[in-house]
Amino acid sequence: MAEKKYLEGLKSSAQKAAASIDMNVIKEKTAGATEVMKTKAAEAKEAAVSAKEDVVSRLTELDRMLQDSITEYNDAYTLMNDKGVQLYVERSRSMDTILFAEQLVNSIANRPKSFDAEFEEIESERRKFTDSCEYAECELQEARKAAAGAGAGLAAGASVAFMAPTAAMWIATTFGTASTGTAISTLSGAAATNAALAWLGGGTIAAGGGGMAAGNALLALAGPVGWTIAGATLLSSILIFAGKKAKLNKQKNEEIQSIKDNTERIREMDAEIGALLEKTAGIRSGLNEMLFKAFFLSGADYLSLSAEQKQLLGAVVNNTKAMAAMLGKTIGE
């Protein structure tokens, strides 16, 4: 009893409150809110267009950066490689100089001497990077999958309209309005069936909607069922595609970083090889001159040589050993 009284009291308060509501004010406020939403939608659209244009421009810059960095890497590698070849040639010539010095020293020394000298070619593998064409192709494949998915969503919606006639009929008969403006639920028999299916299917032939009977299966989707399914599939397609693009752009960014790091390393190697080349050439040139001066000492009796001549030979030995040590140097030491 107490409960019933309580509920009646609530009902009475609600009725009084409802009676005090000015529906015109509500309608006005709703209309005002609608206009605000429309304005905000237009602003959001403008912001989206502007953001999109900026994205396109920045992506072009990122692509250009990728291509430029690959070109720079290849150029730096070529320069480094060429310098490496020059060093190899220089070192090969240096071996000849060392051999000549060895012959001179051994013609004088009591026991045979060897200036252990060997060298390996400085090698570095040219790396291959993914260029912007390959990234563009990946992006295109993802876009095509998104388009295929959207098409599949449309087909799925069409299938539902056909496969679930009872559900479709229920929706249509409960909420649909026939082309004539009469609520389908007030119709009966074949008229209700045709109107319901037509409501889902894009209007009756008489209303010019085409409908399913016109053979355009596509119009069978024109209704809340099809729109919702197609819409949800489109949204999935867009979000998945956006995710894939973000992943590709992240990979692209990391690729550019990797290329730049590699280019920097190649440039350093190039500088190191250049320095080695200069040192090697410097010693070889000096040693060749020195050997020319010391040539007349070939086959001499060491004990009969003057102090200066012995110092000359000592310098030949030291400089040849320095030469041999240079040949063994690798990049990064």
């Binding site: 209309a31 609608t34 429309k38 905000k40 939608a41 959001a44 659209k45 989206a48 953001a51 999109k52 900026d54 920045r58 990122l62 950066m65 020293v105 563009a136 295109l140 876009a143 388009a147 959207a150 098409g151 599949a152 969503g153 449309l154 087909a155 496969m163 679930a164 009872t166 409960t174 309005t177 082309s179 403006g181 894009g202 209007g203 085409g210 399913m212 053979g215 355009n216 299966a217 596509l218 119009l219 024109a222 729109w227 919702t228 399914i229 819409g231 489109l234 867009i238 752009n249 280019t263 190191e272 040192k279 410097g282 200066e308 110092q311 310098a315 030291n318 320095a322 040590a325 063994g328």
Partner: protein, 290 residues
């Protein structure tokens, strides 16, 4: 109004529809949608061309069959000739058509879909709404023309068309807002739906914009760091080279005594072990006599 993308998606989601008085009869619709979405999510991670061809084949098969059923036939009434027609359509569009043509095929269908839907809602929605939907169909048509005449790339074509189609579906779904009540309320519901769409799209683009901006700034910063590193490296190398040049000049000087002493320094600098370097006259004697 703080409408989030999540809320917006939820509004569209058929799950939400199921909670409404309309929805509890749409079990089959949900199942179909989930199957398609799961298939698409799995497909987007696959590289296998056969899977994409399979999806295309199923899509085209569905449309081809629906066309036959739309002509008034039931599935059990389809003849061998009917099945041959269906198979030909599938092979023409799904397998023989290249991927570029298939995208155009999909969006041409959406174009007709939007036009048909616009016609359908003429009785229940405002003239502005159906005109807006027709406008979107025209946008799709223009995009297809631009693409077919190579004025836009295929990726841009697909992305733009996906957004146009989604906008269309949202506006069409929102046009059924009359079910919820008065004209004013339905107007507000439609405006909210459209705002949700525009807001969601803006957020997605802004997110992409921020990400790319961050990447470019990072790259410029990296350039500065690497240049600084290289300059420092080069400077150190040049210092060492200058030292070496002095040693070489001295190691090959005219005075034999100077040459002898400096050659020892050069050998040590070049990395020859100290025990092997001739530093005194005794060392030289020992080398040649022993």
């Amino acid at each position: 109004m703080g409408i989030t993308l999540d809320n917006f998606i939820q509004d569209l989601c058929i799950e939400q529809l199921m909670k409404s008085p309309v929805g509890d009869k749409l079990q089959l619709a949900v199942h179909t949608l989930e199957t398609i979405q799961a298939h698409f999510c799995a497909l987007s991670d696959k590289q296998n061309e056969l899977d994409i061809t399979g999806m295309k084949a199923v899509t085209v098969l569905t449309f081809a069959m629906l066309k036959k059923l739309g002509e008034g036939k039931k599935t059990s009434e389809l003849t061998n000739d009917d099945w041959k027609d269906i198979a030909k359509v599938v092979s023409d569009y799904a397998v023989l058509a290249d991927d570029r043509l298939y995208s155009v095929f999909v969006f041409r269908i959406f174009e007709r879909y939007l036009l048909g839907s616009a016609k359908m809602i003429e009785n229940i929605a405002s003239a502005d709404t159906s005109d807006s939907i027709r406008g979107l169909a025209e946008d799709l048509h223009r995009k297809s023309e631009l693409f077919e005449s190579d004025k836009i790339s295929e990726t841009a074509y697909i992305e733009d068309c996906l957004w146009i189609c989604l906008e269309g579906m949202i506006k069409l779904t929102a046009s059924t807002a009359f079910l919820s009540g008065s004209k004013e309320v339905s107007g507000l519901v439609q405006a909210l739906s459209i705002y949700g769409f525009e807001y969601g799209r803006m957020i997605l683009y802004k997110k992409e914009q921020e990400m790319i901006k961050e990447y470019l700034e990072g790259q410029h910063q990296l350039d500065d760091e690497l240049e600084k590193k290289y300059t420092e490296f080069l400077s150190e190398l040049q210092e060492q080279a200058a030292e070496f040049r002095v040693l070489i000049d001295n190691a090959f000087a005219a005075d034999f005594r100077e040459t002898y002493l400096n050659s020892a320094k050069l050998a040590l600098y070049a990395g020859v072990p100290e025990s092997e370097v001739l530093k005194t006259d005794e060392d030289t004697d020992d080398f040649f006599l022993n």
